[in-house]
């Protein structure tokens, strides 16, 4: 998942970027509203974390401008004052959730997970596809009740495909959402990654969770059980 982090305090920004990268996100960060608006307008993000008190363009105006461009990835706002006036303004501008500084990293992660999952139309954090079960909260993947050991990139790829299960996902889109800005698009890392995932999930070759559409990309092929 690709995340846009806009926070003006450099150390906090760095610390959050480190933490979020360690978990499930490929993070682009900006230190002011102007740069943040540019990134948000130019790249497809899955979720954003935006501080309200930003230089150049404040967080609320930034969100308004993004929403005016019909950019609708979920946004979580960070507020230092914690006043309801700020929260209401932020959410009315188009944010989806808020956190009051200081916050626990785990809390932030849980909120972000819920936001991304909801934005893809999944109500529950546990996605069941027959014998394959994805727990987006604990980041676990079970096949026939046995936990799979996946690398972070493998898990993120699978989760992205599963969350967007109705769509065909191009390699470019996958790269954009899973890797940082400076990733080399020509590499065949994605193909290798998908191959490894298929092997790990589908040892017997019966499940066929990921379909390849030649020249178009990949599609998560399993039907979700409600």
């Amino acid at each position: 998942m690709r995340l846009l982090l806009i926070e003006d305090e450099p150390q906090l920004r760095q610390s959050l970027q480190q933490f979020l990268s360690k978990t499930d996100y490929s993070v682009d960060s900006a230190g002011d509203g102007k740069e943040g608006l540019y990134l948000g307008s130019e790249h497809p993000y899955d979720v954003g974390v935006i501080d309200i008190g930003l230089p150049e363009i404040n967080g609320i105006d930034l969100i308004k401008q993004l929403r005016a461009q019909h950019i609708d990835f979920p946004i979580l706002i960070l507020t230092a004052r914690g006043h309801w006036e700020d929260k209401v303004k932020g959410l009315e501008a188009g944010a989806d959730d808020y956190l009051v500084k200081p916050f626990h990293n785990e809390e932030l992660r849980a909120r972000l997970n819920a936001l991304t999952r909801r934005s893809k139309g999944h109500a529950s954090p546990v996605l069941c596809y027959g014998s394959l079960v994805l727990n987006t909260a604990s980041k676990q993947v079970l096949v026939d009740d046995a936990e799979l050991s996946l690398t972070q990139y493998e898990y993120n790829t699978l989760e992205y495909l599963a969350l967007n299960h109705q769509r065909v996902i191009s390699k470019t889109e996958l790269t954009e959402h899973l890797y940082d800005q400076d990733f080399d698009l020509d590499s065949n890392v994605i193909e290798v990654l998908i191959g490894r995932l298929r092997k790990k999930i589908d040892r017997n070759g019966l499940l066929k969770p990921i379909a390849t559409l030649r020249g178009q990309g990949y599609r998560f092929a399993l039907e979700k059980e409600s």
Binding site: E9, L12, A80, H83, L91, E92, H104, A114
Partner: protein, 458 residues
């Protein structure tokens, strides 16, 4: 004039004129009556003088006796008790002649105290036979044909009662007119004063409107005597607002600059591995939030004419419900907003957002999917109730939850400071917060009742 009755400019003016006007009218009336009587007396004297000359013109001395024709040209001298008399005396007061009209007068008109001086007139009043008479006496020396001089005092006298009656009727008419004028004057004065005090009345209405936020400042078109006051008031109003805004901004800057490092520290530590540090950070954070909030509330409370807007409670609740619905999407909360459209909160919208936001947030957090908000208005309070269907709050903990101005550092872990902030704000408006558990119905959880006084005490 410190009494309660004179605690009004109008009462003072009316009181003063009611006291002064009668004195004024009395003095004027007295002077006018006096002047009128004086001129009437003068006229009477002149008339008597003319009569006296007609008497003198027909007076003859024959053989030491005063002789006048039987019938005089002035008929009143010829008729008994006509009210016009003439008697001629010698120097000793011996009567030498009397007109026919005076034949029945029993007393002498001669005034011995008036010394005899030839050529002098003397006008006076005398009470003869119970009638007041005007009396003009003229002393002359008659030189007879043989050269002897005979001193004579010729007295012409008239009945004073017609004159007195005229003066009396003048006095009566004068008093009537003056009283009518007085009443009219008071009425006109009252009207003038009401008109004159109109700007002050308008000012007081505007001040009330200002307090109720119907207007933002006083008008500019006041009379020039009041204008300096209204202008300075407007200036103070603006200054005060700016000052409060500055203070708020300072506080929020302070919050920002304190909380960002805290957030950094928090992001660096692992909650599980360093529980004590994490917990202490939470406490520091709560104390900062609490104290900064209280500081802002305190400065607002001291502003007597604080910027009080007329806020629709329903609209504010609707805004909050909309965003809470978004935040708590997963809980799929059903909100019932039964706030009456015509219920308004007079104060700062941010305060109402803070109070309702904190309590609604708790209801969403601890309720089980149902939150209802409704309002009632009685003579003195606007009561907003927020109920949920959660587990409710045990009796024991309610006082902790509601401890007025509870210190941030005694807040229970996990309780947050939202409620104590709400309590602080509510009490700064002179209101109250009550918590009950709803025993029955599908909303059987906690029920918070916020009451705001209808008339804001300054």
């Amino acid at each position: 004039m410190q009494g309660a009755a004179f605690n009004s400019l109008l009462a003072r003016f009316i009181g003063a004129s009611l006291l002064l006007l009668p004195v004024f009218i009395f003095v004027i009336g007295g002077l006018l009556v006096h002047a009128f009587a004086h001129s009437q007396n003068n006229a009477e004297r002149e008339k008597l003088q003319a009569q006296l000359y007609t008497i003198l013109s027909v007076t003859e001395i024959e053989n030491q006796r005063v002789v006048l024709p039987e019938a005089l040209t002035e008929p009143r001298f010829n008729n008994q008790n006509s009210g016009l008399y003439s008697i001629i005396y010698g120097i000793q007061g011996e009567e030498l002649w009397r007109s026919a009209s005076a034949s029945l007068l029993s007393q002498s008109l001669f005034d011995p105290s008036n010394p005899f001086f030839v050529g002098t007139h003397s006008f006076s009043q005398a009470n003869i036979d119970n009638i007041t008479l005007n009396r003009l006496s003229h002393d002359i020396e008659w030189i007879s044909e043989d050269g002897t001089s005979i001193p004579l005092r010729v007295i012409v006298s008239s009945d004073n009662s017609p004159l007195a009656a005229e003066i009396n009727s003048y006095r009566n008419r004068l008093w009537q007119w003056l009283s009518a004028m007085g009443v009219l004057l008071v009425a006109v004065q009252m009207a003038i004063m009401l008109w004159g005090l109109q700007p002050l009345k308008r000012l007081s209405i505007q001040l009330r409107d200002l307090q109720q936020s119907k207007i933002q400042g006083l008008d500019k078109n006041y009379p020039k005597e009041i204008q300096p006051v209204t202008e300075s008031f407007n200036a103070i109003l603006i200054q005060e607002k700016q000052q409060r805004e500055r203070y708020r901004n300072t506080m929020s800057d302070l919050a920002h600059s304190l909380k960002t490092p805290l957030a950094l520290i928090q992001s660096q530590i692992n909650q599980q591995q360093m529980p004590i540090i994490s917990e202490q950070l939470d406490r520091i954070n709560q104390i900062i939030s609490h104290q900064l909030n209280r500081a802002v509330i305190r400065v607002n409370r001291h502003a007597s004419l604080a910027h009080t807007d007329k806020i629709s409670v329903k609209a504010t609740a609707t805004r909050l419900i909309k965003i809470l619905d978004k935040v708590y999407t997963e809980k799929n909360i059903s909100f019932v907003n039964e706030i009456a459209k015509e219920h308004y909160f007079f104060g700062d919208e941010a305060d109402l957002l803070e109070v309702l936001g904190n309590i609604l947030d708790n209801a969403c957090k601890y309720g089980r999917g149902h939150v209802a908000i409704h309002s009632t208005l009685n003579a003195s309070y606007l009561v907003i109730s927020i109920c949920d269907n959660g587990p409710g709050i045990p009796e024991k903990q309610r006082s902790i939850v509601l401890a007025r101005g509870a210190r941030g550092d005694t807040a229970q872990a996990g309780q947050g400071i939202g409620l104590s902030v709400a309590v602080d704000i509510i009490s700064s408006y002179g209101g109250g917060l009550e918590v009950n558990n709803n025993g029955e119905g599908h909303l059987s959880g906690a029920c918070f009742s916020i009451s705001f006084p209808v008339v804001q005490s300054p």
